[in-house]
C-alpha cells in the first residue's frame, strides 16, 4: 500500500461514515421513517451475519464456521451471557478445526 492509497481509503471511509449522521441532522424524520432506518440497519446486520458465517470469500465456508456461529446463536437465544456466546462460538469452531473439520 502506498501512503496515498491509505489516505484515500481513509478519506473515503470517513466521508461515508460522516454522511449518515450529518444527513440525519438536516432532515426531521417522521417516526415511521426512523423505525424503517433501524429496521434497515438490522437487515444489513443480519445479511452481514449470514454471509460472514456461511461464506469465505465468494464460496461456501466449510462446516466448522457455521456450526460454531449456530452454537453461539443458540446460546444467545437461550439468553446465555454475551461473553459466553462469543467464547462458545470461537471454541466450537476452533475445536472442529483441530479435529480436522474445515
Amino acid at each position: 500500500m502506498t501512503v496515498l492509497a491509505v489516505l484515500a481509503l481513509a478519506a473515503g471511509t470517513y466521508a461515508v461514515r460522516l454522511a449518515g449522521p450529518l444527513l440525519r441532522d438536516r432532515i426531521t424524520l417522521p417516526d415511521r421513517a426512523r423505525e424503517l432506518m433501524s429496521i434497515a440497519a438490522t437487515v444489513l446486520l443480519v445479511a452481514l451475519i449470514a454471509t460472514s458465517s456461511l461464506m469465505t470469500g465468494d464460496h461456501l465456508a466449510g462446516p466448522a464456521l457455521p456450526i460454531g456461529v449456530a452454537v453461539g446463536g443458540l446460546a444467545a437465544w437461550r439468553r446465555a451471557p454475551f461473553v459466553l456466546v462469543v467464547i462458545l462460538a470461537a471454541t466450537v469452531t476452533a475445536l472442529l478445526r483441530l479435529a480436522g473439520v474445515r
Binding site: G20, L22, A50, A90, A94
Partner: protein, 224 residues
Amino acid sequence: MRSTWRTLDPALLRDVLAIAASVAVSGASFGAIAVGSGEPWWIPPLMSVVVFAGGAQFMAVGIVAAGGSPVAAVLAGLLLNLRFLPFGLAVGEVLGRSPVGKLVGSHLLSDETVAFALAQREPARARTAFWLCGLSLFVAWNAGVAVGVLVGRSIGDPNVFGLDAAFPAALLALVLPALRDRPTVRAALVGAVIALATTPFVPAGVPVLLGLVGMLALRLPVRR
C-alpha cells in the same frame, strides 16, 4: 459526556470488553499479515488509525499483496465500507448534538458499535454503549495491530482460534432483541438470502448492501 457515563453498568462493560479482546487478536493478525506480505512496518499502524475498518484493511492489503493495484485496493475497501452510510443514518442521533461528537463519533462507526447501540432500549444507554464500544474497539484494534507488527509472523492464522465465528455470533447475539416482530424477521431473512445468493457473483461488500432489498418484504401481505 458526563451524563453519558452515568448509564454505564458492569454488564455492558463486560460485553464490550469481550468483543474488544477478539478485536485485539484480530488486529494483531492484521499487523502480522500486513508486515509479512511486504508492507513497511509503519503502514499497518497508520492505516489502522486513519481507516479503522478491519474488513477493508484486510482486503486492501490482500489485494496489493496478490499483485493488484493500490487503486483497486482502495475501491474494494470503499465498496466494503459503503454499509456505514445506512448504519450512520440509523444511529446518527446516538452521536449527540455537538459537532465534535459527530466528527469523532463518525470515525468510530463499525458493525459492532452499531449493533451495540441498536441493542439498547433507551437512548441514553444507546449513547453510552456506542461510545464505550467505539472507544474500546479503537484502542483494542490499534494496540493489537502494533503488537502484530512487532511480533510478526509467529502469530499465524487467527481462524485457528475460531475468531471468524466469534464476530458473527457476537453480532447475532446483539441483533436478536431487534428480531421480535414478524415483519422485521421477514425482511431480515429475505435480505440474508439475497446477500448469500449474490455473494459468488458480485464484489465483496455489495451482497450485504443488496440485502437491503429485503426491506420490500415489509410490505408483503401476510395471511393471518
